[in-house]
C-alpha cells in the first residue's frame, strides 16, 4: 500500500517538476483555430474550448495542486502543533480552553471559511488554502496533544525536567522529535484533504484564478461541454483522484508500518 502511495504521489511530484522545465505547449496559450480538438499526435489529450493543450494544463496543474497542499499543511501545522503540544504539557483549565477553542473551528466547514476569506482578501490559491489550513488546525492540535500526553509520561521527560530544563526547551528537544511520526501521518492525510479542497474551491471560482492552470477549474470549464466533449472532464478528474489516493495511501502505509513495530 505504501509502495502504491509512493508511486502515485511521486507521479504528481514528477509531473510538477517536469512542468517547470518542459510542457508540450504553453499551458496558458490560447489557440482559437484549434479548439476542442480530439486527442491526436500533436495534442495527445486534445485541446479545450480555448484551444489550450490539455496535457500541458494537466502537467502544470500538478504544481498548483502541490502548492495548495503545502500552504494548507504548513498553516495548519504551524498553528495546530504548538497549540496541541502546549495543551498536552500544561493540563488543567488552560489546556481545556485551548482545545475547546480549537474544536469550535470544527464547526466551520473549510468551504465556509474559504468563502469568507475570499470575500475579504480576494480569491486566490493562497487565501483558499489558508482557509483550509485554518479549518485543519484542530486535527493537528488533537493529534499533537494526544501524542504529547503519551510522551510526557516517559522517564526522559522527567529527567529533563529534573535537570532543570524549562518547558519550551523540553518541548523543542524532547517532545517534538518524539511526536513527529503521528504528525507526519496527519500531514499526509491533511495534504490529501487540501488537494480535494483546492479542487472544490477552484471549481467554485474561489481558488486558483485564470490563467493559473488548476485541475478543479478545468473540471468547471469542462461542465458546459459535457454533452459534446465529455473527455474534457476525464483527465482533470483522474489527476485529482490519483493525487488524493497517493497521499492517503502514503499516510496509511506509514501508519501500518509503525503499528507493526
Amino acid at each position: 500500500m505504501r509502495t502504491t502511495g509512493t508511486i502515485l504521489a511521486g507521479l504528481v511530484v514528477a509531473m510538477a517538476l517536469l512542468s517547470l522545465a518542459w510542457t508540450p505547449y504553453d499551458p496558458t496559450a490560447l489557440d482559437p483555430a484549434h479548439t476542442l480538438l480530439r486527442p491526436s499526435g500533436a495534442h495527445p489529450l486534445g485541446t479545450d474550448d480555448y484551444g489550450r493543450d490539455i496535457l500541458s494544463m494537466i502537467l502544470a496543474g500538478a504544481r498548483t495542486t502541490l502548492y495548495a497542499g503545502v500552504v494548507a499543511v504548513v498553516v495548519a501545522a504551524l498553528a495546530g502543533v504548538p497549540l496541541g503540544v502546549a495543551a498536552g504539557m500544561w493540563r488543567g483549565w488552560p489546556s481545556d480552553v485551548l482545545m475547546r477553542g480549537s474544536d469550535l473551528l470544527l464547526a466551520f466547514p473549510a468551504v465556509l471559511l474559504a468563502i469568507l476569506l475570499a470575500a475579504a482578501f480576494g480569491a486566490s490559491t493562497a487565501t483558499a488554502m489558508t482557509a483550509v489550513g485554518i479549518a485543519t488546525v484542530p486535527l493537528f492540535a488533537r493529534v499533537a496533544r494526544a501524542a504529547t500526553l503519551q510522551v510526557m509520561t516517559r522517564e526522559y521527560i522527567l529527567a529533563a525536567r529534573a535537570a532543570g530544563r524549562r518547558a519550551p526547551g523540553v518541548a523543542a528537544r524532547h517532545v517534538l522529535p518524539n511526536i513527529a511520526s503521528p504528525l507526519l501521518i496527519q500531514a499526509s492525510a491533511a495534504f490529501a484533504i487540501a488537494i480535494l479542497a483546492e479542487a472544490s474551491l477552484s471549481y467554485l471560482g474561489l481558488g486558483a484564478q485564470p490563467p493559473t492552470p488548476s485541475w478543479g477549474r478545468m473540471l468547471h470549464d469542462a461542465q458546459p461541454h459535457l454533452f459534446t466533449a465529455p473527455r474534457l472532464a476525464v483527465w482533470p478528474g483522474l489527476a485529482i483522484a490519483v493525487a488524493v489516493l497517493g497521499f492517503n495511501l502514503l499516510g496509511d502505509g506509514v501508519r501500518d508500518a509503525r503499528d507493526l513495530t
Binding site: 466547514p109 465556509l112 475570499a118 470575500a119 472544490s200 478528474g237
Partner: protein, 312 residues
C-alpha cells in the same frame, strides 16, 4: 446532570461562534453603504446611509444589536435586496436540508454494507477489494462525482434530470428524482470515508470478550454481529457521522453549484459577491449553528445507544 453540562457547552459554543462570525464579517473590506451607492457617491450620502444602516456605530454595539435580535430569531433585513434575511434563508433551507439528509442516508446505505464486508473478509481478497473501493471513493471530489453521475444518468441514459429543484410539497416524486444524483454524489464520498470507520468499529467489537462468548456458544460470525455486534459498533460510527455533518454541509454547498440547486450555498456565494454582509452573517451563522446542534444531538444519541456512558 450530564445533559445539563452538554447543553451549557452548546450554548457557550453558539455564543462563541456568533462572535467569531460577526468578527469575520466585520473585517471584510468594502462596506454595504459604499457598495449600494457606488464608488463615486458623495461622502455625505454614504455617511447618511451608514447612519441609517447602523454601520457607523461601534462594533460592540453592532454585535450586541445583531446577537440580541438573533436570539429572537430575527436575522435582520438585507439592505441590498430589502428582504428579511430569515425569510431568504427559510426559502432555501429546504433545498440544503433535503440534500444533506438524503446525502447522509446514501452515505450510510453505502458505508454499512461496505464496511461490514471489509471486516467480515478481513485479510482476504474480498475484504481488500472493499477497502480499495472505499479508498477510491475517498479520492474523488464530490463535485467531480456529481459531474460523472450527471454525464451517465442525465446526458447518456437520460433517466434523471441534470439540475433544478422541485419542492417536496409540490411533488414528492419529482423532488426525489431531482435529488437522487446530487445526494448520490454527496453520499459516495461521505460514505467512503464512513465505511473505514464502520470496518474498524466492527473489527474491534468482534474481538470483544462478549462476542467470543456468544461464538463459543455456537453462534456464527454473522449471527453474533447481527444480535450483538452492530449495536456496539454503532457508537463510534454515530460519532463520526455527527462529526461529518460539517463536511456534509460543505459538500452540499459545492454540489448545489454542480446541479444548480437553489440552496444556502448559492445564496451565500451570491451574498458574498454582492457584499450583502447581513445576509452573509445570517447564512454562515445558520450553517455553523446547524453543525453545533447536530453534534449536540449526536452526543445525546450515544447516551441512548450506550448506557455505560451515562454515568461518566
Amino acid at each position: 446532570m450530564i445533559l445539563l453540562r452538554r447543553t451549557a457547552v452548546l450554548a457557550a459554543s453558539l455564543a462563541a461562534a456568533s462572535a467569531a462570525v460577526f468578527a469575520a464579517c466585520a473585517v471584510l473590506p468594502g462596506d454595504t453603504a459604499t457598495v449600494l451607492l457606488g464608488d463615486h457617491a458623495d461622502p455625505a450620502s454614504v455617511a447618511a446611509l451608514r447612519h441609517r444602516l447602523g454601520t457607523d456605530r461601534p462594533l460592540t454595539a453592532q454585535y450586541a444589536g445583531w446577537a440580541g435580535a438573533l436570539l429572537r430569531g430575527d436575522l435582520g433585513v438585507s439592505p441590498v435586496s430589502r428582504l428579511p434575511v430569515a425569510a431568504q434563508i427559510g426559502d432555501r433551507l429546504e433545498v440544503t436540508l433535503s440534500l444533506a439528509l438524503l446525502g447522509t442516508l446514501a452515505a450510510v446505505a453505502l458505508a454499512v454494507p461496505l464496511g461490514v464486508l471489509a471486516a467480515a473478509h478481513h485479510r482476504r481478497p474480498l475484504g481488500a477489494a472493499a477497502s480499495v473501493l472505499g479508498q477510491a471513493g475517498m479520492a474523488v471530489p464530490a463535485f467531480a462525482a456529481g459531474i460523472l453521475l450527471a454525464y451517465v444518468f442525465a446526458v447518456r441514459l437520460r433517466v434523471l434530470p441534470a439540475g433544478g429543484y422541485v419542492p417536496f410539497l409540490a411533488d414528492p416524486g419529482e423532488w426525489l428524482r431531482h435529488l437522487v444524483l446530487p445526494a448520490l454524489a454527496l453520499g459516495l464520498v461521505q460514505g467512503s470515508v464512513l465505511s473505514r470507520y464502520v470496518r474498524s468499529a466492527v473489527l474491534e467489537v468482534m474481538r470483544e470478550d462478549f462476542v467470543r462468548t456468544v461464538r463459543a456458544a455456537g453462534s456464527t460470525w454473522w449471527g453474533a454481529l447481527w444480535r450483538h455486534g452492530l449495536r456496539n459498533a454503532a457508537v463510534p460510527v454515530v460519532t463520526v457521522l455527527g462529526l461529518q455533518i460539517a463536511s456534509v454541509l460543505a459538500g452540499a454547498i459545492v454540489i448545489e453549484s454542480v446541479f444548480t440547486l437553489p440552496g444556502l450555498g448559492q445564496l451565500l456565494l451570491r451574498a458574498v459577491a454582492g457584499r450583502d454582509l447581513i445576509l452573509v452573517q445570517g447564512t454562515v451563522m445558520v450553517l455553523v449553528a446547524a453543525v453545533l446542534v447536530v453534534n449536540y444531538l449526536t452526543d445525546l444519541l450515544y447516551l441512548l445507544l450506550d448506557p455505560r456512558l451515562r454515568t461518566s
